[in-house]
């Protein structure tokens, strides 16, 4: 199902375009990209909070534009920011959220208790949310998003601002929910390791376009083997010709003082390279073998390194073409 589509941003630019994918039932689907890549815009369209200016999206066969209330009933949503009410207890937040779906407090009480227990919030359920820690708040958001028994849940950068333990803990809760409830999970993240460890399949989005889609392994394999990073001493001769001639080397690129050597056999190449460079009179300052990570994938696909927070966002792409199909339980 392909629907040409685009979504203008605030300055008349196109926030996402050429975005087209399908999510399967019961999988954890990751939407990976730097800040400003169009992740939140896509999630807003899929969760009926924004209408695409063209194109469309279907969730369990329902059109997000024309059947938005049916779509809303089937999905849960965890925002980047905590949206729980500070002055209310965790349990009150859940009961009120259920009410917005037309479910009475009596009807969801047991399910709410069950979710609070699964999120390890049973003890804190009747405390005000303003007393919760950052990790507890994220778990409560997850519990609130699950209170109406959705078929699929959208997580918009769910671990943003959590410390490493908090993030690892949160991943466990997500995996647990997927196993115990057969939930489909659609999540955005700009953490590569998170997508790598948590997701069954990943779409990499950059400047409003999907540039790769596959399992983490497929994406890493697409980069092709290991990378040897070789740094030469200042003023040393250019080792490019030497490196290109080594066995198993497929390409050499220079990044600053460092030469990135694509090769099939990283570890065994180290001693050979160092010896050969020494014979040629090139002073080697350091060598590292890098196993392919999603960082590599990103660099390979986009030609630029994965931007960290605080760097200027890229100019938004122009054009159109978006479609999405999400299958719930």
């Amino acid at each position: 199902m392909v629907y040409p589509s685009s979504k203008p941003g605030t300055q008349g630019t196109v926030a996402v375009d050429g975005v087209s994918f399908q999510v399967r039932r019961g999988e954890i689907f990751g939407f990976l990209g730097p800040n400003g890549a169009g992740k939140t815009t896509t999630i807003s369209i899929l969760t009926t909070l924004l209408s695409p200016t063209s194109g469309g999206a279907h969730i369990e066969g329902l059109d997000v534009r024309t059947q938005s209330n049916d779509v809303r009933r089937r999905l849960g949503l965890v925002f980047q920011k905590s949206t729980a009410d500070e002055e209310l207890t965790g349990r009150e937040n859940m009961i009120i959220e259920a009410g917005l779906y037309g479910l009475s407090a009596g009807a969801v009480r047991e399910h709410a208790n069950d979710l609070l227990a699964q999120m390890d919030l049973a003890q804190a359920a009747d405390r005000f949310v303003k007393t919760y820690s950052g990790g507890m708040r994220r778990r409560l958001e997850l519990a609130v998003g699950m209170v109406h028994k959705p078929h699929l849940i959208f997580l918009d950068e769910p671990t943003l601002g959590l410390d490493p333990q908090g993030r690892a803990g949160f991943w466990r809760y997500i995996r647990h929910l997927r196993e115990s409830k057969g939930l489909t999970v659609f999540m955005t993240t700009h953490y590569l390791d998170e997508a790598d460890q948590l997701c069954d399949r990943i779409a990499v989005i950059d400047r409003g376009r999907i540039i790769a889609l596959g399992t983490p392994k497929e994406l890493k394999d697409s980069v092709g083997g290991d990378t040897l990073e070789l740094t030469v001493a200042p003023g040393a001769k250019d080792p490019t010709a030497l490196l290109t001639g080594m066995p198993g080397v497929t390409s050499v690129t220079k990044v600053g003082e460092t030469y990135r050597v694509k090769c099939s056999n990283g570890e065994s190449l180290i001693p050979k390279t160092v010896l050969a460079a020494d014979e040629a009179g090139i002073v080697v300052a350091g060598v590292t073998v890098i196993k392919p990570t999603l960082d590599e994938v990103f660099l390979h696909l986009t030609g630029h390194a994965y931007r960290e927070e605080g760097e200027a966002p890229p100019p938004a792409a122009e054009g159109d073409g978006e479609s999405a199909t999400v299958e719930g339980r």
Binding site: P8, T10, T41, L50, G99, L100, G102
Partner: protein, 290 residues
């Protein structure tokens, strides 16, 4: 059907009951006016000695003394002052993302609006009735002026009084809610509210009798929704003598204001709560993009 709207009302109620700052912010001004201004500023004492007793009653349209006349004005003033906070909740909900979460559920946009109007309208009525009670109690305190009510007040009069207070609170709650739906920031909201506060109050008959005002001002004061409500309230408590129109006419005028303000609020709410993108972009899509 009703569960979603009731849930929103319950959330607002729980929030409010746990941070009841309204007790100070909403009631302070009317109580100070009753305790200080109303005690000090007695129009009756300005009349020259020997003025016939009926003269003051004529100026005050039947009220037995200035304090009683003034206290009824303060009932409306308390209600309008409380209504000025009506739009704040919706702005915080926008900024904290709570509104977006609400809109991602199947709750109808009409329910979101009606829940806000119902809860905020009720909150606006509380200070009005507290002021009535406070002014009535003052009448039993020695050496302090209080609200004295005519002996002929019956159930119908009391009902008229309550209906006028109710329509007034719906009207001003809607007016300030509509600013809340339109504004993105709390600063711009209170900017507008502060500009409106004094003109709304001073062009009403809450504090001064209309018939001693210059003619041009009388026209403005005559159509002010506060004046219309206060007229009905005073007629209910002190009798209808000296009023050019009947209670029904004033109630209809007040109702017209209420319909206008509710319509304005509903229109702005629908604009703020829409999720599709108009050429200018909706408030919500801007909030999401931000």
């Amino acid at each position: 059907m009703l569960i979603p709207a009731f849930s929103l009302i319950r959330r607002e109620y729980l929030r409010w009951i746990r941070a009841p700052t309204w007790v100070i912010s909403g009631l302070m001004s009317p109580i100070l006016y009753l305790l200080l201004f109303g005690q000090a500023f007695d129009l009756g004492k300005l009349l020259p000695p020997g003025t016939p007793a009926g003269a003051l009653a004529t100026v005050l349209s039947g009220a037995p003394n200035y304090f009683s006349y003034f206290a009824v004005g303060m009932v409306a003033f308390a209600s309008v002052t409380a209504a000025m906070f009506s739009g704040t909740g919706i702005i915080f909900d926008k900024q904290l993302g709570i509104l977006q979460r609400t809109l991602s559920t199947p709750i109808s946009r009409r329910s979101v609006f009606l829940a806000a109007l119902t809860f905020r309208g009720m909150l606006t009525l509380i200070p009005a009735f507290l002021v009535v009670g406070f002014a009535l109690v003052l009448a039993y305190v020695p050496n302090v002026a209080g609200l004295s009510v005519g002996s002929g007040v019956n159930v119908v009069d009391a009902l008229q009084f309550v209906v006028a207070a109710l329509i007034l609170s719906i009207a001003f709650t809607s007016l300030f809610l509509s600013f809340g739906f339109a504004a993105q920031r709390i600063e711009s909201y209170f900017g507008v509210v502060t500009i409106l506060q004094l003109p709304i109050l001073l062009t009403s008959n809450a504090m001064y009798p209309v018939n001693i005002m210059p003619a041009w001002l009388q026209y403005v004061v005559g159509i002010n929704p506060i004046s219309l409500a206060v007229n009905v309230m005073r007629m209910s408590l002190f009798g209808t003598a000296g009023y050019p129109y009947s209670v029904g006419v004033y109630l209809l005028g007040l109702l017209a204001w209420a319909v206008l303000f509710v319509g304005l609020a509903f229109w702005l709410a629908s604009k703020a709560l829409r999720t599709d993108v108009s050429p200018k972009g909706s408030a919500l899509s801007e909030a999401i993009a931000a």
